[in-house]
């Protein structure tokens, strides 16, 4: 045996492991920490009891957010499976980040995470960032699953992620969103879809305030393209300004308290249109088209004059996807 050669070969194995660990450890200690929200519940999520499989809102990037080489002709697949991509992030309230745009060229500045295309679909691109598995102690995965859904209301899991300058991301931990949202379809006697009942839950252990503008206008209606079907449907009031917020619009929720908002889809306020076609209710659209309501309270500046301004939860919270025919994800 050539002893020194053997020592060198064994050292190679040690160094490989050391590089794996040190790179991530350095990132955990020095990287920029952001929170990424996991996607609203998907029946295909697998809680295996010893690790949790995660899907993020950032995992599906709509085609309108693609740049550079990813913005190819619609007839072509946007990038091949395995193509390296970078998702530039907007970091908002409570360090919660969402995707500003995705590109195949490494950004010069700002916070971004790198990943690979998992699957390009018609209206979006699915990206894998290498942080889709969260290992927990055996049995704890079921506990996480239970906390994600309380009384039928989804409370998003937000993953604490350390991001390096090269876009490499490492999971550090998790937290629960302070606000949860539940989605139910309201039907008439003949089971036709009338509207949507949205329930907001204070999932924290402290009082929290929400803004409920008249007519449910704190919510916006957006098309969900995560399954890659046709895109381009827009809510007719997407660009309309809402009224000025008053104290009477603010609701303080105690821990565990739920506030319910009913939205009638037959109300023209909630119609959608595409390509300058006449506006229509989503109940009249094809069954494969999915939408979400997104809770978006007015900004801190708009609420600054309010009495309970310091309690108001700011951010955005999407509901589960649903179709006009009454199917809920």
């Amino acid at each position: 045996m050539r002893t020194w050669v053997t020592i060198a070969a064994a050292a190679f194995q040690v160094l490989v492991l050391a590089y794996m660990g040190l790179e991530r450890e350095y990132l955990v200690r020095t990287g920029r920490t952001v929170y990424l929200r996991t996607a609203p519940i998907d029946p295909r999520d697998l809680f295996r009891g010893d690790f949790v499989r995660l899907e993020y809102e950032a995992s599906t990037v709509a085609s309108r957010l693609l740049r550079d080489g990813l913005r190819e002709d619609k007839e072509e697949r946007r990038g091949r499976k395995g193509t390296r991509v970078y998702a530039a992030l907007n970091v908002g309230e409570n360090n919660l980040a969402d995707v500003h745009y995705a590109t195949d060229k490494r950004p010069e500045e700002g916070v971004f995470i790198r990943g690979r295309i998992r699957r390009p679909v018609r209206a979006a691109v699915r990206i894998r960032y290498g942080i889709e598995a969260y290992f927990v102690e055996q049995g704890k995965g079921v506990e996480l699953e239970r906390r994600r859904s309380r009384e039928g209301i989804q409370v998003p899991l937000e993953m604490e992620v350390a991001v390096g300058r090269n876009g490499l991301a490492v999971l550090k931990g998790h937290r629960w969103s302070r606000l949860g949202i539940g989605t139910e379809i309201e039907r008439d006697a003949e089971q036709r879809t009338l509207g949507v009942k949205l329930r907001l839950l204070n999932a924290s252990d402290k009082p929290l305030a929400i803004v409920d503008l008249p007519g449910g206008r704190t919510f916006s209606l957006e098309q969900d393209v995560s399954w890659g079907w046709e895109s381009g449907w827009r809510w007719v009031n997407g660009d309309a300004a809402h009224k000025e917020v008053e104290d009477s619009d603010v609701r303080v929720l105690e821990p565990g308290e739920i506030h319910t908002v009913h939205i009638r889809l037959s109300d023209p306020v909630w119609f959608v249109s595409k390509d300058n076609q006449p506006a229509r209710p989503i109940t009249g659209l094809q069954s494969h088209l999915r939408f979400r309501f997104v809770y978006r309270p007015p900004s801190k500046e708009e609420c600054a004059h309010l009495e309970k301004a310091d309690l108001i939860w700011h951010g955005y919270l999407p509901s589960r996807a649903f179709t006009g025919r009454g199917w809920v994800d």
Partner: protein, 442 residues
């Protein structure tokens, strides 16, 4: 104290007998003994195999143990255990191996354990940092770690582990991600093949041949859309058979000849059998001639390599060749390159030569192989080729019974003929065997 292997003990016994009988003298006996390296005679295989298996199972146990992921254990402690186990296993292995020959088997087994800890460490570090990257890379690095140890020690067990892991890597990349890992092929041939040659290890050679075959299929399948994989694997089988003949004829690793022959001819016969079915032959030989340079190279290079190898095999048969060298190559094997040429040229000739005609040709070749093996086995009094040839004949008869002969009369006649042939073969074999035993006794 040395541990002579079974073969070495047999050789020692025979050499003594030959010297005693005046067939060879002592100098010649030593020269013959010197052809078989000392290491081959002292490998404590039992210790290595059982210790190696034990090491693998211990490694798996470690993975399962830490899969519980005790929350009470801080990250630093987990990392300390991972690195500590790795360093301890390799350190102890190196110390024991270098200490004396007596502990070499144990030292090598600890090295295998260390490599298993390395693999476990990759998954455990991934668990600790919640890494869900491109997971085939784990098999690649694990395999490269084993490869490094295989050469450093040197260790056949580590080389086997490296071959298996690299094959898994190529397979997962191909099947799961559609990626062709071209590097897998030269790694197996260039970085592991020489080790099998150096150590004259038939076990490692067999593993490498299987690994190379699987990797070729995976890589070619991912790169070429799959319709040329059959041609490529048929070429590979032909190359293996030719290498078997050439290894026996030339070179210092003649023990490899039966290994090449077994795997090469075995794969060739299976593929040839498939080609005797017209519909299957049509599907397997159909190649869409849409050219990209890489695809063309992947398709044609194995063909040219196989044909070149068979030219070398058949060279002694030429008028200028040394006929005594041709005796090691049964004549029916020369049908192999012809099968290869027919298979490759089918896309060009299929309009004038339909699949039924091609299948009939392949059936005749299959029949020729069966007959040649039976004749060869009977003449030499060898049971192996006799039985193998008989099985091929029966398999062909069953296949044609299913798809060719509709008439009961035809079927009956064929079965009577095949049965008669097998019956006569048995008689001929027994007679031949008796003559051979008689010669040996005399």
């Amino acid at each position: 104290m040395t541990h002579p292997g079974k073969n070495a003990r047999w050789l020692d016994g025979e050499l003594e007998r030959w010297v005693g009988g005046g067939i060879i003298d002592h100098v010649q006996a030593e020269a013959i003994r010197g052809l078989y390296p000392q290491e081959q005679r002292v490998r404590p295989w039992a210790l290595i195999v059982f210790s190696g298996i034990g090491a693998v199972i211990i490694g798996l146990g470690v993975i399962l143990l830490f899969a519980y992921n005790w929350q009470s254990m801080p990250k630093s402690a987990k990392l300390a255990v991972v690195f500590g186990a790795l360093v301890a296993a390799h350190g102890a292995g190196i110390c024991l191996y270098a200490r004396s020959e007596r502990f070499r088997g144990l030292g090598e087994a600890l090295g295998v354990l260390g490599t298993m800890f390395f693999g476990a460490g990759i998954w455990l570090v991934a668990q600790i940092y919640h890494i869900e990257e491109h997971f085939p890379n784990a098999f690649l690095f694990w395999g490269l770690g084993a490869l490094a140890m295989a050469w450093a020690v040197p260790s056949l067990a580590q080389a086997v582990i490296a071959a298996v892991l690299l094959t898994i890597w190529a397979g997962v990349e191909s099947v799961e991600f559609g990626r062709a890992t071209h590097a897998a092929l030269p790694i197996i041939v260039v970085l592991l093949g020489p080790l099998a040659y150096m150590k004259r290890s038939r076990v490692l050679l067999a593993i490498l041949m299987l690994a190379f075959g699987f990797c070729t299929g995976f890589v070619a399948g991912a790169y070429t859309r799959g319709d040329v994989v059959f041609d490529i694997l048929l070429s590979l089988a032909a190359i293996y058979v030719s290498l078997g003949v050439l290894a026996g004829r030339y070179g210092k690793f003649s023990q490899s000849a039966p290994i090449f022959g077994l795997f090469g001819f075995g794969a060739y016969v299976v593929m040839l059998y498939l080609l005797t079915f017209p519909d299957v032959a049509e599907q397997l030989m159909r190649v869409e001639l849409t050219w990209g340079l890489g695809r063309v190279l992947y398709w044609l290079v194995p063909l040219f390599a196989a044909l070149a190898a068979w030219v070398v095999v058949a060279w002694p048969l030429a008028p200028w060749g040394r006929k005594e060298r041709a005796k090691d190559c049964p004549y029916d094997l020369l049908l192999i390159p012809m099968v290869l040429i027919l298979c490759y040229s089918y896309p060009l000739i299929h309009r004038d030569f339909d699949s039924w005609a091609a299948a009939a040709s392949f059936s005749l070749v299959f029949l020729a192989h069966a007959g040649a093996m039976m004749a060869r086995g009977c003449r030499a009094g060898q049971l192996g080729p006799t039985i193998a040839g008989s099985l091929l004949l029966v398999a062909l008869s069953v296949a044609r019974y299913i798809d060719m002969f509709e008439s009961l009369i035809a079927r009956g006649v064929v079965f009577i003929i095949v049965g008669t042939v097998l019956f006569c073969e048995g008689i001929f074999y027994v007679r031949s065997r008796k003559k051979q035993v008689g010669r040996e006794s005399a």
